[in-house]
């Protein structure tokens, strides 16, 4: 591998501002400080980073250093990006305004073909609490055995079971004896509570043990229940995972699990949360999650950014390939980039006021960091991404492109369901019902007859019982999310 520049060492583009240098350094310190870090070899990394920072944070030293670097070549990046905006310009006005941006990322086809399917480093974390007893756990066992049989020699797999505590059933890498592995899975038994943190923590330590940049490092949590009191620890663990490039996905079985909590944990790491309404879908959900991970680049793509004080992010949502809300904050974790196809991120900005005497306005300035595993030229890339728009006095009458209009339309349908949940949470059943009614009307309008029927059934239930039915809220939430899937979109076009 070519010698890293000091910029690359900090994961920064060559034109990084002082502010960006400081920010990147702080992030790395949090992750690598010897006091908080136990992984061997990372103390040296920490010293390297310190050294890089000392140079780049000092304007004089930085200038001297910049002179020694070869001229920045305009290399074609392996991932191309394209912006679509809801308006051609921002307009000078005395009140706040909103603008939507759709970011489309696509891998260069030549690069896609160069990378073969990615090896996995997966820990399956299985809830074995009392409620899993019977068909649920039996199905999970069978699926896990199927999964073990499908693994390739280059994959690393571990299995953690948890209830009130966690137990390492299959340690990572030891796949020499498939028969005994299968036997161990067969013997899993249900009983006890649901301490999700204990399970996640053990899964995390398995994945981080075998952490490798040319593998997809990922935790898959399977649960049917709620965890109590350890939610904050789980969130912290998710942040830590994310900083190390470890993703977390979750499969929630039935109606009792906490979708808001698991959505949050998984989005923090760029993973996704799937709703397994019926245990018969377990196999399909788990195996498609594995397929998804195997067809992605190794590390989730992240975007480090800064926004001016007069701008606010109102929403960030990944529309493709796996629809999921994204958790605010820099870096924003976009998630796993598919080798083929595109990734689409929808961002909604609120601009509170526009500074005088400027012709153009920066909504967010930052850069993406990503890894192209086993790529001949270079493996790590830092790519500038700036969201900006010109400023005009009057509104430019130009209708938004179909791409952004469709994206925002589907997102606003998803949002209606959010508003219904919110209203119900406040005890306003009427408002909740009204939002569901509007959703149903729009669904019929879109030709989604079956789903509309299902929403209407839910509305009837809400009117009778003044609350959501047991599975109604999740069914509609993940149902509207599924509308955003590329397959669905393509189907509708034809």
């Amino acid at each position: 591998m070519a010698k890293q520049t000091l910029y690359e060492r900090l994961g920064l583009p060559r034109d990084a501002s002082l502010e960006e240098i400081r920010h990147a350094y702080r992030q790395l310190v949090l992750r690598l400080h010897p006091d908080t870090n136990l992984n061997p070899g990372e103390t040296e990394l920490f010293i390297d980073i310190q050294h890089a920072y000392e140079y780049l944070a000092d304007p004089e030293k930085k200038e001297d250093y910049d002179q020694t670097l070869p001229a920045d070549q305009d290399v074609e990046t392996p991932i191309s990006h394209k912006f679509y905006y809801s308006q051609p310009s921002l307009v000078r006005m005395d009140e706040p305004q909103v603008i939507y941006a759709l970011l489309e990322l696509r891998m260069h086809p030549d690069t896609s073909l160069l990378i073969s399917s990615t090896p996995l480093n997966i820990s399956l974390v299985v809830d074995c609490s009392t409620s899993m007893q019977g068909t649920r756990l039996d199905t999970v066992k069978l699926t896990a055995i199927d999964l073990v049989r499908q693994l390739r020699p280059q994959d690393v797999f571990s299995l953690v079971k948890f209830n009130d505590w966690a137990e390492l059933l299959i340690p990572p890498g030891s796949r020499s004896d498939i028969k005994s592995t299968e036997m161990k899975i067969q013997l899993l038994q249900a009983g006890g509570g649901t301490e999700i943190f204990k399970g996640l923590e053990m899964g995390f330590s398995q994945v981080s043990q075998s952490l490798a940049r040319d593998r997809v490092n990922h935790i898959i949590l399977i649960t049917d229940g709620r965890t109590y009191g350890d939610e904050l620890s789980c969130e912290k663990l998710a942040d830590q995972s994310s900083a190390m490039g470890i993703g977390i996905s979750a499969l929630g079985i039935g109606n009792q699990w906490n979708d808001k909590f698991l959505d949050r944990i998984t989005s923090k790491t760029g993973g996704m949360c799937r709703y397994v309404s019926d245990i018969s879908q377990m196999r399909n959900s788990l195996l498609s999650e594995i397929t998804r991970l195997g067809s992605c680049l190794t590390e989730p793509i992240n975007y480090s950014y800064q926004i001016p004080s007069n701008v606010e992010l109102r929403s960030t949502f990944r529309l493709q390939p796996d629809p999921s809300p994204l958790v605010f904050g820099s870096p924003l974790i976009f998630g796993n980039m598919p080798r083929f196809g595109s990734m689409k991120i929808l961002v909604e900005f609120l601009i509170k006021d526009i500074p005088a005497k400027t012709a153009s306005f920066t909504l967010a300035k930052g850069f993406m960091n990503y890894e192209i595993p086993r790529h001949a030229v270079q493996t790590h890339y830092v790519q500038r991404l700036i969201f900006e728009r010109p400023i005009t006095r009057a509104v430019i009458k130009e209708e938004p492109s179909i791409e952004i209009l469709n994206a925002v339309k589907l997102f606003s349908l998803y949002h209606l369901q959010d508003r219904a949940s919110e209203a119900m949470g406040k005890g306003d059943v009427n408002a909740a019902t009204r939002h569901m009614e509007i959703l149903a009307t729009h669904l019929v309008n879109k030709g989604e007859q079956d789903f509309a029927e299902s929403v209407m059934e839910e509305i009837a239930y809400m009117k009778r019982n003044q609350t959501f039915s047991e599975d109604g809220e999740k069914r509609i939430k993940y149902g509207t999310r599924a509308l955003l899937l590329p397959a669905k979109t393509a189907e509708r076009k034809s």
Partner: protein
């Protein structure tokens, strides 16, 4: 502030869809789903048979588009929205059509609860049937569900058995 023409909800300028009722504030410049073979479109544009002559009432001054209910003589102006859903409200159902034909005996005429939509897409309007129970005819020809058909001034479409004529106020546009 922008005010939703449908529900009166206030939104920040730049918003594309009303967060309260999902109404679209801007229309797309082109419709990607419009795939009507030209010969079929020509057939559709054939004038309505002369035999069934009736008097076309004047369009209301303030509306660019309106619907004339041939059987009852009522005129419903279409104002403020880029798209209208047409149907019939009922006690026990949650769907909310923009144009409710229940007061005009929609049930007896065989209008579905959410029957069709009219989308304003200059220079014409687009009529889409939602897979309704009794179907939709345009100038005497049955149209396929979930596919937009262009309609212009004077065209007559039939929801179930209810005849409706589209009126365009030329002076307005």
């Amino acid at each position: 502030m922008i005010v939703c023409p449908k529900c009166g909800n206030k939104e920040i300028p730049g918003t594309l869809f009303c967060s309260e009722c999902g109404t679209q504030f801007a229309t797309a410049s082109r419709d990607p789903t419009l795939t009507i073979p030209s010969n079929l479109a020509d057939q559709l544009r054939e004038p309505y048979p002369e035999g069934e002559d009736h008097e076309i009432p004047p369009t209301p001054e303030d509306a660019n588009l309106s619907l004339f209910l041939v059987d009852t003589g009522d005129v419903i102006p279409l104002e403020g929205l880029p798209e209208y859903t047409i149907g019939r409200s009922a006690e026990d159902q949650p769907l909310l059509p923009d144009i409710d034909l229940a007061p005009y005996n929609g049930y007896e005429f065989g209008v579905s609860r959410l029957h069709a939509s009219i989308k304003i897409s200059p220079p014409n309007a687009l009529l889409t049937d939602f897979g309704s129970a009794n179907g939709t005819e345009l100038n005497g020809q049955k149209i396929s569900p979930n596919q937009p058909y262009p309609i212009t001034h004077g065209d007559i479409f039939t929801l179930g058995k209810m005849k409706i004529q589209l009126l365009v106020n030329r002076s307005g546009s």
